[in-house]
């Protein structure tokens, strides 16, 4: 790190900005999401003078990061963001935190005031590396032009390797303008950072031995398997089918295993299915892969799956034994671990009888008969669940991607939209960022121009980043946004009804815009469905449109998300709809403080 290779004659004349562009090109970057400003003008000038990398102009820097997340999560590549110093950089903080929580590979280039002015409270100066240190996987301030190429390449390596995450590179303006040497990725010396990918074979054997003997096993799988790549998802499907065990997926893991497969018993967690949560509670072996035992998944920790042996596969050693202590920890890449597990299983397969799982499956079928996702569509008012189901049915034959915002609509989408393939479902799981969905959909559509990209949103969430309709118009992106409009911050209202005496403090959205006119003001298509009869024709019209569409789906206002594990409750204390509805005074005081 301390010494840089000597510049060669042909590259010695590049400016810092040209070096950055060359490095991005060599990293295979196709798209950059950004917003210009004073401190990045040299870099914008260098981008202007080339045609390999396309720049997408967003309307707010937070949206640039979400769009890059959408691009990254739907392609498996690194998403790239370019913003200016000061407010440009601080506006990315929510997006960076979102990417950190959900393990999305992002490289975010931020402009900075010239090195000699750093610390002077210069115009549009902010301590970007200081501010972004806790919300990035790593960050850099480039102080010497000769470090530039190495740092850009290293940033991509750090962002995509191990547990992926966002990396910020802060670029003072004088460094962009100085002459700088170029080096390729192969000339970058390795650092101390080497994430472990190969699992410990002895632990894999131990895990598979437990699986072979288990009477009530369950696979509990999260977004880590999707991050490991489509091959890991294929291996997962093979292993689960070979073992005959049930599988549940986290919110982030949806699509890692086909939802249409009978061994899939639905999403687990706070709004997961009854059968998935009960199976987690009653299992005797839990095989967690690429999941991090989030509080939304575990419920009350001392009541979490009390009788099971637990195996945990994760690329991030700090995820293991963080919330739940496990019996067999395996640090490794999901794909390599699944290869080893499948091999270990096949060596035992003829000694294992699938009949041993029959009582377990009988129990699960009984739980499934509860039909915990049921809802009754009666009358003309559109149930939000109906809207999601119809949308799913109408797009089943299409190459479809779905993004969401955060709240009730997100949970209904997770419950009722079925994904058979990975990387098709993009939602803000960890941070829970309202305003994620629409810009993320823009990123997805740019990565997959021919695909059908749906953004399922809420009236409150959509407004948080609605300025991006200008971006969608500029690049003629036919993203189809469906707002499940109940005029409430629905999930806030639901919690106020359950836990705060139905006092709807500030959760009612007075003075919402007319979403149809809003769309039209941007030049997009605005549609509205207010009754059940209008729903299908409006969906059909939206899917036909070849430019951005905003659909205002006016839904039943007081509908709640079920089933629900209240805060501070265990999996077996799950509440079903609607008989259990009513005052929820039973919640513990300990549960009340949980978010």
């Amino acid at each position: 790190m301390s010494t840089s290779p000597a510049p060669t004659a042909d590259t010695a004349q590049l400016t810092g900005a040209q070096v950055i562009v060359k490095a991005l090109q060599e990293q295979g970057v196709e798209l950059i999401f950004g917003y210009p400003g004073g401190a990045v003008l040299p870099l914008y000038d260098a981008l202007f003078q080339q045609d390999k990398i396309r720049h997408i102009l967003v309307r707010h820097e937070q949206a640039a990061v979400h769009a890059a997340e959408g691009y990254a999560r739907s392609t498996g590549k690194v998403g790239v963001v370019l913003v200016t110093s000061g407010p440009g950089a601080t506006n990315t903080v929510t997006g960076l935190t979102d990417a950190l929580m959900d393990s999305v590979p992002i490289v975010c280039l931020t402009g900075q005031v010239p090195t000699h002015m750093i610390g002077n409270d210069a115009f549009q100066e902010a301590d970007t590396v200081g501010i972004t240190r806790p919300c990035t996987k790593h960050n850099y301030l480039v102080k010497r032009a000769e470090d530039l190429a190495r740092i850009i390449h290293e940033a991509f390596y750090v962002a995509r390797s191990g547990r992926p995450g966002p990396v910020v590179v802060d670029l003072p303006k004088n460094i962009q303008m100085a002459k700088a040497p170029y080096v390729g990725p192969s000339a970058v010396p390795p650092r101390g950072y080497h994430p472990r990918r190969e699992p410990d074979p002895a632990r894999v054997e131990e895990a598979i031995e437990l699986l072979a003997r288990a009477q009530r096993p369950i696979f509990y799988v999260g977004g880590g398997v999707i991050n490991a790549g489509p091959a890991a998802c294929v291996l997962l499907t093979e292993l689960v089918r070979a073992t005959g065990a049930p599988i549940t997926l986290t919110l982030m893991g949806l699509g890692a295993y086909p939802a249409s497969d009978p061994q899939f018993i639905g999403m687990l967690g706070m709004h997961g299915t009854y059968e998935a949560n009960m199976a987690m509670y009653e299992c005797d072996l839990m095989l967690a892969i690429g999941a991090r035992f989030d509080d939304r998944v575990t419920g009350r920790l001392d009541g979490f799956s009390p009788r099971s042996k637990k195996v945990h596969v994760d690329i991030d050693p700090s995820s293991i034994n963080k919330n739940v202590v496990v019996d067999v920890p395996i640090v490794g890449d999901a794909e390599l671990t699944l290869v080893a597990m499948l091999d270990a299983w096949r060596r035992r397969a003829n000694q294992v009888s699938r009949e041993r799982l029959e009582p377990w499956w009988r129990q699960i079928k009984a739980w499934q008969e509860v039909d915990s996702l049921r809802f009754r569509q009666n009358g003309q008012a559109i149930k939000p669940q109906t809207a999601i189901k119809r949308l799913w049915e109408a797009t089943r034959d299409r190459d479809v991607y779905v993004t969401t915002d955060v709240g009730q609509h997100q949970m209904w989408a997770a419950q009722h939209f079925k994904f058979d393939k990975p990387m098709r479902w993009l939602t803000s799981g960890g941070l829970g960022t309202m305003g994620y969905g629409f810009p993320a959909a823009i990123g997805v559509q740019l990565a997959h121009p021919k695909a059908t990209v749906l953004c399922i949103s809420g009236d409150a969430s959509f407004v948080m980043n609605m300025q991006e309709m200008s971006t969608a118009m500029q690049y003629r992106l036919p993203v189809k946004t469906f707002i499940l409009n109940n005029s409430y911050m629905g999930m806030v209202r639901q919690w106020q009804d359950f836990f705060h005496g139905s006092r709807h403090a500030e959760s009612y959205m007075d003075a919402l815009p007319d979403f149809v006119k809003l769309a039209e003001a941007f030049g997009a298509v605005g549609l509205r469905a207010s009754t059940i009869d209008e729903l299908d024709p409006v969906i059909e019209a939206a899917l036909k449109a070849d430019k951005p569409v905003l659909v205002d789906v006016v839904v039943e206002r007081m509908e709640n998300v079920y089933p629900m594990i209240p805060g501070g409750a265990a999996h077996n204390e799950i509440k079903l709809s609607p008989e259990d509805d009513g005052p929820h005074e039973a919640i513990s005081e300990e549960g009340m403080v949980l978010v």
Partner: protein, 172 residues
């Protein structure tokens, strides 16, 4: 109380790249999660390769300590993490500068204690003395409580494993 819930003091040493912000990353990891730092020292130990060594003394349950070590090892500039409390016997030393003021009788008394406890006199004035004391943290605590100083400056714990075992970077 179960063994898994018992809090224990650990001395952890970390080999890092000597680059701007590396200490802030380490400290941020502790403050951001509410873990304790009892003592922290940092200095460059290899100028050629630009490596620094950080010595951290922290207190926590076994799982918290495991979490701290995993999080430290995840930081990009971190080369190696070693828990000297777990990984075997280690030498731990701390240095303190201790100022005592007062009348002649009090200073003579302090000199006597310092002599007995192997502290060095490094500054001497008619009405004040400064001692340099090195030893384990417990030894320093004992010395400080005996001389009743007016001001104390402590360097924090530095530690190294006993025997031939060494903490080195894998990187050339």
């Amino acid at each position: 109380m179960k063994a898994s819930e018992e809090e224990r003091r650990h001395t952890i040493v970390v080999l890092v790249d000597n680059e701007p912000g590396v200490l802030a990353r380490v400290i941020g990891l502790f403050s951001g999660r509410g873990y304790n730092i009892d003592s922290l020292t940092v200095a460059e130990i290899d100028k050629v390769r630009g490596l620094s060594r950080i010595n951290i003394v922290t207190t926590g349950t076994p799982y918290v300590i495991e979490q701290i070590k995993a999080l430290l090892a995840k930081l990009v500039p971190v080369h190696k993490v070693q828990d000297l409390t777990v990984e075997g016997p280690a030498v731990e030393r701390e240095l303190a500068l201790v100022k005592v003021t007062g009348d002649r009788e009090r200073l003579v008394q302090a000199l006597r204690i310092a002599d007995f406890m192997h502290a060095r006199l490094v500054d001497s004035r008619p009405d004040s003395l400064i001692f340099e004391a090195t030893g384990t943290s417990d030894e320093l605590d004992a010395f400080i409580s005996l001389v009743e100083p007016i001001e104390v400056s402590r360097a924090g714990v530095v530690a190294i494993a006993r025997g031939p075992k060494v903490l080195t970077s894998d990187r050339a």
